[in-house]
Amino acid sequence: MGSDKNKLLDAYRRMKSIREFEERIHVENTTGEIPGFVHLYAGQEAIATAVCKHLKDSDYIGSTHRGHGHSIAKGCDINGMMAEIYGKKNGLCAGKGGSMHIADFEKGMLGANAIVGGNPPLVIGAALTAKVQGTDGVAVSFSGDGASNQGTTFESMNMAVVLQLPVVFIFENNGYGEGTGCDYAVGAESIAQRAEGFGLPAVQVDGTDFFAVEAAAKEAINRARTGQGPSAIEAVAMRFYGHFEGDPQAYRSAEELTQLRETGDCLKIFRDKVEAGKHVTKADLDQIDQEVKSVIDSAVKAAREADFPTKDDLLTDVYVSY
């Protein structure tokens, strides 16, 4: 019972951390202090959180250009992430990667990836390591609806089936790849159905419903962990913001944009469900909101104050030895 409650609170904290992280970057980005492109995950928090809940540090995930949520869900240090996004030397990647390349191998985070379709081949490699070494490790690939059309993604699914790799392909269908609708760009009936044609179990779930994703992910990850091969999950949830910060989003109707947070907010939906249950109170959740806020506050503060790398760092870490 207590453990149930803790699990719910943990899940909420993760989701809320992602939301707060992204909302805050949305604001801070306007100051001009954050270099380069940022792609926010707000709206999709339930997906990363519910999937990564079933993973250990020794399991791996591969992510996308929209990687903050996956990173937080997998346990990356929030201060290190924020510092990285600000291009600071104490960032998770020493300031060399930035938002699109956050990685933390200690936490099994194989990296955000700025190439659409870039991570699935890498993720099957992590799964191959588990298979060859005979561990019970699992690897999870997160891809968007847009990335689901990329050749690399298809190849990875087939190879995973052929080699029966312990891998799960998560397709986050947020309706758009940049400014192009998924209903236009995906020729198939659904991403899940197309994946199923590759010979792996595939389901479509409501990505705003933490519990729906959790159940599907549990089954798929368990399948992988017990040597029963790969699976795919299509989780549908819209992003709250533009493709990148600054995107005017003319490809979305005003109606869609206003409805988003009313009907598609996974945090609200989660709250409604758990507050109706008996373990968790509104006060518990409100308290987490406060705590998360202060965590993000101090992460931003620290990141802003941290030092940039210096010219000397330019030439290091290209090779292990050269």
């Binding site: 380069g36 990836n113 847009g146 050749g151 758009y176 400014g179 998924c182 490809y251």
Partner: protein, 334 residues
């Protein structure tokens, strides 16, 4: 004549050529944008706005939004070119060439030769290059040296809006596959650009600035860096000739060699690569064909042999700057 940015000049060129020839089409990711979903069509007009408005005039049959699927885009362009269209395919960032290079270098580039001269592949690939936008290792490369090394491809990289328009029109009319490299940092760069249509032939370098002490050959945005350095050097009494080859394949060897004959000294400023890059290519050319004119070593100013870093101070140190060019010239004259 009106002042136009490179973005506007390119839009001009596309529009004029599409009016002129119904076989000219555009395809790529979000070249219009807004297909599917709930919003309006032409929501993007190209990720960087270059193709804005074209779908309105030419329709979805000729301005074609595609899925994110670069091999299919490049292949479709090559196949369409070989069968009667003149496609302009967009590769959003040249960094993405790794997922579609085969269709470019093994297919489109080699058709004519492999098939014994019996085909033409009049396609243009428009793509963006260049560091400086804090977009890190996978969105900041130049890579044109790789394309330049491929027989069968033509490589074009305008440094200003006038050239951008004239070279793009030439590219669209050209019967060979052309890769057109647009520097992301130059889109808002403006100069006088005629409203009417005009073409600039490939393989004719532009002598951006005349001088007699030293020749600087530079490409794309590096032309501006070279000019900046030339100004500083002029104030020291050093007279620099700056050459913008505009196309690396074909390359105007003559203008470069003649300049070096005059100055006896060469610096190449290039953002593509420290190894096997355009700087080495030009250096190698002159070390062979212009050796007798040389009064000193050929200096290559390039980024270091590292990926493009994200953090601003690192990226700034990565890109050749006027200061590093000036330092290179000083080294040479010492």
């Amino acid at each position: 004549m009106t002042q136009k940015t490179i973005r506007e000049a390119l839009n001009d060129a596309l529009r004029q050529e599409m009016r002129r020839d119904n076989n000219v089409i555009i395809l790529g990711e979000d070249v219009a944008g807004g297909h599917g979903g709930t919003g309006v069509i032409d929501a993007y007009g190209g990720p960087l706005g270059v193709t804005k408005g074209l779908i309105g005039e030419f329709g979805a049959n000729r301005v074609i939004d595609t899925p994110i699927t670069e091999s299919a885009i490049m292949g479709a362009a090559a196949g369409a070119a070989a069968t009667g269209l003149r496609p302009i395919a967009e590769l959003m960032f040249v960094d993405f060439m790794g997922v579609c290079f085969d269709q470019i270098f093994n297919q489109a580039a080699k058709f004519r030769y492999m098939f014994g001269g019996k085909t033409r592949t009049p396609m243009v690939i428009r793509t963006t290059i260049g560091a400086g936008m804090r977009t890190a290792a996978q969105h900041s490369q130049c890579l044109y040296h790789m394309f330049t090394s491929v027989p069968g491809l033509k490589c074009v990289m305008p440094s200003n809006a006038y050239d951008a328009k004239g070279l793009l029109i030439e590219a669209i009319r050209d019967d060979d596959p052309v890769i057109f490299f647009e520097n992301k940092l130059l889109y808002d760069h403006a100069c006088d650009v005629p409203d009417e249509s005009y073409a600039i032939p490939f393989g004719e370098a532009n002598v951006v600035r005349e001088g007699h002490d030293i020749t600087i050959v530079a490409f794309s945005r590096m032309v501006h860096i070279a000019e900046e350095a030339a100004k500083t050097l002029a104030s020291e009494g050093i007279s620099v000739e700056v050459i913008d080859p505009r196309t690396t394949s074909p390359l105007d060897e003559e203008t470069i060699l003649e300049s070096v004959e005059k100055t006896g000294r060469l610096v190449v400023v290039d953002e593509s690569a420290a190894r096997c890059g355009m700087a080495a290519d030009i250096a190698g050319l002159v070390a062979e064909k212009g050796f007798s004119s040389l009064k000193g070593p050929i200096i290559q100013i390039t980024p270091p042999h590292t990926p493009v870093p994200f953090s601003p101070p690192l990226e700034d140190a990565f890109i050749p700057s006027a200061a590093t060019v000036v330092a290179g010239v000083h080294r040479l004259l010492k």
